[in-house]
């Protein structure tokens, strides 16, 4: 095999899993733990405060009349400040979903995580957020299914996206 007619050899040496096991090569192990305390900003601070109260808040741009969630203080389409806070519903529609068998570090999970983009009612159509699904058989999930947020109790809520445990399907009401 050749890369090109002019290049017939190619550099590089593979280390196989057996090499690693046999300790054939030296390596250097260290942990790098950058730490941050992020300023959430005007829009997301309010969003989190509302989650703590069991509500979902969005921002409206009066120019394009879109209701934006997650909220932001500027409209990226019009490039101008957004104008007002709008409370939207905690129900929505599954835009798309997936059944995840692996965790953050690619390790296999015992129980798969169900994830979805949920387009929220009361926001401009197509405005979704990422969240988990629950109380549903994986095989029963459908794009277009109506869902509703299942909240933690008010004493458990701390102003985080996880104040919503997950979204669960609701029948056509």
């Amino acid at each position: 095999m050749i890369l090109s007619q002019k290049i017939t050899s190619y550099p590089g040496h593979e280390i196989t899993p057996e090499d690693v096991k046999a300790g054939k090569y030296l390596d250097l192990v260290y942990k790098f733990e950058p730490k941050y305390s992020w300023a959430a900003g005007v829009a997301i601070s309010r969003f989190l405060a509302e989650l703590k109260e069991g509500r979902i808040i969005a921002r409206k741009c009066m120019n394009c009349e879109r209701i934006l969630v997650p909220p932001r203080m500027y409209c990226e389409q019009c490039f101008r400040p957004t104008d007002e806070w709008v409370e939207i519903k905690d129900t929505g529609t599954i835009n798309t979903y997936s059944i995840s068998h692996v965790g953050t570090d690619a390790r296999r999970l015992k129980t798969p995580i169900l994830v979805a983009v949920v387009d929220l009612d009361g926001a401009t159509p197509g405005m979704g957020i990422l969240h988990n699904l629950g109380e549903v058989e994986p095989s029963k999930i459908k794009v277009g299914m109506k869902v509703k947020a299942v909240w933690k109790s008010s004493s458990e809520r701390q102003g985080a996206i996880t104040d919503i445990r997950y979204f669960r399907p609701i029948g056509e009401e």
Binding site: Y30, P34, K35, Y36, A39, V42, Y74, E76, C78
Partner: protein, 383 residues
């Protein structure tokens, strides 16, 4: 023929030790809004390219450009990250304009260092992981090594370095952005806590938050955009070896190379007499001396003496860091170069307020990416 790219708009936000009320994105939106107003452009219609200068670990995000477009008005437009100092971002914008990719380019950089809990540890992880990272000291040990070598080779008096800090912190008292302005004497500087010998704490710049946005335009386009264009006439950037052990620690070789390219482009033959104003790297006191020599604004080994004698004071022959520099204003990570260009632009426009240097027409600005790099950039500006 010299380069001729117009800086037609500038905007900034922050310039504070902390900006807890705003997210990075909101901080950028403020700066961008001001820059677009200053230039008279609508980013959704008039701008063809956006360049952001950031490093992932300063942001705490892998692939930082993900979080850049919305607040700059850049959605569905060409935007990219240049992982370098803001002046390299300006160079990128110049090349976009020169190659016909764009007429109007936006360059952005910011520091949100107040979001970072362990900045020294992050800096340490820029050291070679096998050869150098085991030196578990404050990363400024590299500055200590350089400073010691510089003092030895040039026989510069130790107190001349302290005078740099005295001068710049004093200048910053006149600057509304001057977070670290102070009226000190050399003794106070020399007696402050040792950071990494011989360098002291008051000779080390302190990081602050801020966002800076520039709007650049082709010569033709710039004529139609406002009446306060400042021109980039030459620009250069360069890197010395990444191996600490291989460098000439006494010299800022990257600045020598950057300056040579920028001067050639701008047709500068005698830099020592050409400029009315210089903003040079002063991340640490001795860096200003090294940089002045690399830029040929001072004879080799004589920069300290010239600082001491007042040559580079606000009312001296060549005001250097009249803004207060990084020692007086604060250090803005990769936005540091843009900050210094901003100060020079305001001077050349005659909008520097109490900082104004009379009859300032030509300026040179130089930046360094900080420890442990040997990378820097130089821009030659004129009005």
């Amino acid at each position: 023929m010299p380069l001729r790219i117009g800086i037609v708009g500038v905007g900034y936000s922050g310039f504070d030790s902390m900006t807890p009320g705003l997210s990075t994105r909101e901080l950028m939106f403020e700066a961008a809004t001001r820059a677009y107003e200053d230039a008279g452009v609508d980013p959704r219609k008039d701008v063809q390219s956006f360049v952001c200068c950031t490093e992932d670990f300063w942001e705490g995000i892998s692939i930082t450009d993900e979080y850049m477009p919305d607040q700059l008005g850049a959605v569905l437009k060409p935007l990219c990250t240049i992982s370098s100092d803001g002046i390299v971002g300006l160079a990128t914008a110049c090349m976009h304009i020169m190659s016909g990719i764009a007429d109007v380019v936006v360059v952005e950089s910011h520091s949100k260092i107040s979001d970072v809990v362990n900045p020294d540890e992050i800096s340490s992880f820029a050291l070679d992981p096998i050869y150098d990272h085991h030196v578990s000291a404050d990363p400024r040990f590299v500055a200590g090594l350089e400073m010691a070598r510089y003092l030895k080779e040039t026989a510069t008096k130790r107190e001349y370095c302290a005078q740099v800090a005295v001068k710049n912190k004093k200048n910053a008292l006149l600057n509304p952005r001057g977070v670290h302005g102070a009226n000190l004497d050399k003794k106070a500087v020399l007696n402050s806590k040792v950071a990494s010998s011989p360098l002291t704490e008051l000779e080390s710049s302190k990081t602050i938050d801020g966002g800076i946005v520039f709007v650049l335009a082709s010569a033709q386009k710039a004529k139609k955009l406002g009446n306060h264009t400042v021109w980039i006439n030459g620009i250069g950037w360069s890197s010395d070896t990444p191996w600490l052990e291989d460098r000439d620690m006494a010299r800022a070789v990257y600045a020598e190379q950057s300056a040579a390219r920028a001067y050639k482009m701008a047709g500068v033959r005698n830099p020592a007499t050409y400029f009315d104003l210089a903003e040079v790297d002063d991340t640490y006191s001795y860096k200003e001396l090294q940089s002045l020599e690399a830029l040929k604004l001072a004879t080799k080994g004589k920069a300290g003496k010239m600082v001491e004698s007042g040559t580079f004071d606000r009312d001296g022959r060549l005001p250097v860091n009249a803004s207060g520099g990084s020692l007086g204003v604060g250090h803005l990570l990769e936005a540091t170069g843009l900050h210094r260009v901003l100060e020079a632009v305001l001077q050349l426009r005659g909008q520097a307020g109490r900082l104004q240097i009379q009859r300032a027409k030509k300026a040179v600005v130089q930046s360094w990416r900080g420890i442990p790099t040997a990378t820097g950039a130089v821009a030659v500006l004129g009005n």
